[in-house]
């Protein structure tokens, strides 16, 4: 399983590197979304850092959805799907691999956006650093949930393209936990109480994915 996971992760990341979508498109998008959220909330509200964790995770959610859509698109074409299907890759491994690749992408984007949060939304630096471990865990969980729900959405071509968005409710606990933990870190609150939720969610989504990805990807 691990071998398959590494193979798939390497492939996804290579495609990603090749098309440079992450660097030139996802990251600027995130930065822009952060700026715009700040603006949309109005200068007065965006200025103080209370809103920063919420906005950060909201933007990361959109980044996740977009990146999942891309990660699906890589194997989406009908012809490609058949070719790959007959390789008979272990589905658990494919799930893990895709999750790893997505996690790496989210971490890169997240790190840059955290910096943006500090500079643009005036979140305090020490708190942000304290929260970063937890943010990393939450993003990994988001990635796992994203890949799982990407599979739910079917082939990814044509009519069902937007289905993963329906599974947004599954992201909600992650977002709330992440936001609370980050807020706690900024205000020196109980970081770890919320942090464990993210960790538990990560483990749960990974387990679910390894077990169920094959069933979802079957058809």
């Amino acid at each position: 399983m691990i071998r398959v996971a590494l193979l798939v992760a390497a492939k996804d990341l290579r495609v990603e590197l090749r098309s440079r979508v992450l660097l030139w498109q996802v990251v600027p998008f995130g930065a822009m979304a952060l700026l715009l959220s700040g603006l949309a909330l109005g200068p007065a509200r965006a200025g103080h850092s209370g809103a920063a964790p919420g906005l950060f995770f909201l933007v990361m959610l959109f980044v996740t959805l977009l990146t999942v859509a891309r990660s699906r698109a890589i194997d989406a074409r009908a012809g490609t799907r058949d070719s790959i299907a007959t390789l008979g890759l272990d589905p658990g491994g494919v799930f893990l691999g895709k999750t790893v690749a997505l996690t790496v992408e989210l971490w890169v984007t997240g790190a840059l956006l955290l910096a943006g949060t500090v500079v643009v939304l005036h979140a305090n630096l020490a708190g942000t650093l304290a929260a970063s471990g937890n943010v990393a865990v939450t993003l990994a969980a988001l990635a796992a949930a994203g890949v799982l729900h990407g599979a739910l959405s079917g082939p990814g071509d044509g009519s069902a393209t937007l289905l993963p968005l329906l599974s947004l409710p599954a992201f909600a606990p992650l977002l709330i936990a992440g936001e609370r933990a980050y807020s706690a870190a900024l205000g020196h609150g109980a970081l770890w109480a919320w942090g464990t939720i993210s960790l538990v969610a990560l483990v749960a989504y990974l387990a679910l994915g390894i077990l169920l990805y094959g069933v979802l990807d079957e058809s």
């Binding site: 492939k11 074409r77 490609t80 058949d82 299907a85 007959t86 390789l87 589905p91 079957e218």
Partner: protein
């Protein structure tokens, strides 16, 4: 256990209420070449997909490579067939070589097989080109190289001659002869006549989702 590589009995494939295959009975013996013919929309592609575990059985029964289509996991089957779809495609953003490397690693084959496979299908001087830039025939050749990396018991090819030039067709004829000689079975759909170099061919003529005649 039957002595056939694949056998279907009154197999039915239904999708969104429409019967793509309306009862197909068929046997594929080891070391044979079976040719599927029939008018457009007869169900050739669907039959190949069924044999490859790419669509499920909706009625009737069947077994392929020892896998019971009605009962077992289709995934187990997919690993054992070689598949060349009508519009086989690969990772568009990876080069020819990278695509083959991926397949080789996924199948646990040594990477040394790669250069000869490229050479045989005539893609050596395109090995660094991204798959999306290949011409139609070159894509088909990439599919063949992908197939050469495996040694399946059952080869399923959907109109493999389309888009290939003279040279490619000759290669394919040769390949078929080799495969059958080595004891594996081939099921292939085609509208053209197969090359004359091939020996005995079982022809199955499909019409309207069922077998109309065979020879």
């Amino acid at each position: 256990m039957s002595e056939f590589v694949a056998s279907l009995n009154d197999a039915l494939v239904v999708r969104s209420g429409f019967p793509l295959l309306s009862g197909v009975t068929l046997e594929v013996a080891p070391a044979t070449l079976t040719l599927l013919t029939g008018p457009n929309g007869a169900g050739k592609t669907t039959l190949l997909q069924l044999l490859g575990g790419l669509v499920g059985l909706s009625g009737g029964s069947g077994q392929v490579c020892g896998v019971d289509l009605a009962r077992d996991d289709r995934r187990a089957l997919r690993r054992r067939v070689g598949w060349l779809g009508h519009d086989s495609s690969f990772y568009d953003d990876l080069s020819v070589r990278e695509n083959l490397t991926f397949a080789a690693k996924a199948l646990g084959r040594p990477l040394e097989d790669l250069a000869p496979a490229l050479e045989r299908v005539g893609l050596r001087d395109r090995s660094e080109v991204l798959a999306r830039r290949l011409s139609a025939g070159q894509r088909r050749r990439l599919g063949l190289a992908w197939l050469l990396m495996r040694r399946p018991e059952l080869w399923l090819l959907d109109e493999p001659y389309a888009a290939l030039d003279e040279d490619g067709r000759r290669f394919l004829d040769g390949l078929f002869a080799d495969v059958v000689a080595a004891g594996a079975s081939i099921v292939v759909s085609a509208h053209d006549h197969l090359g004359a170099t091939l020996g005995a061919v079982n022809t199955v003529h499909l019409v309207g989702g069922r077998v109309e005649s065979r020879s």
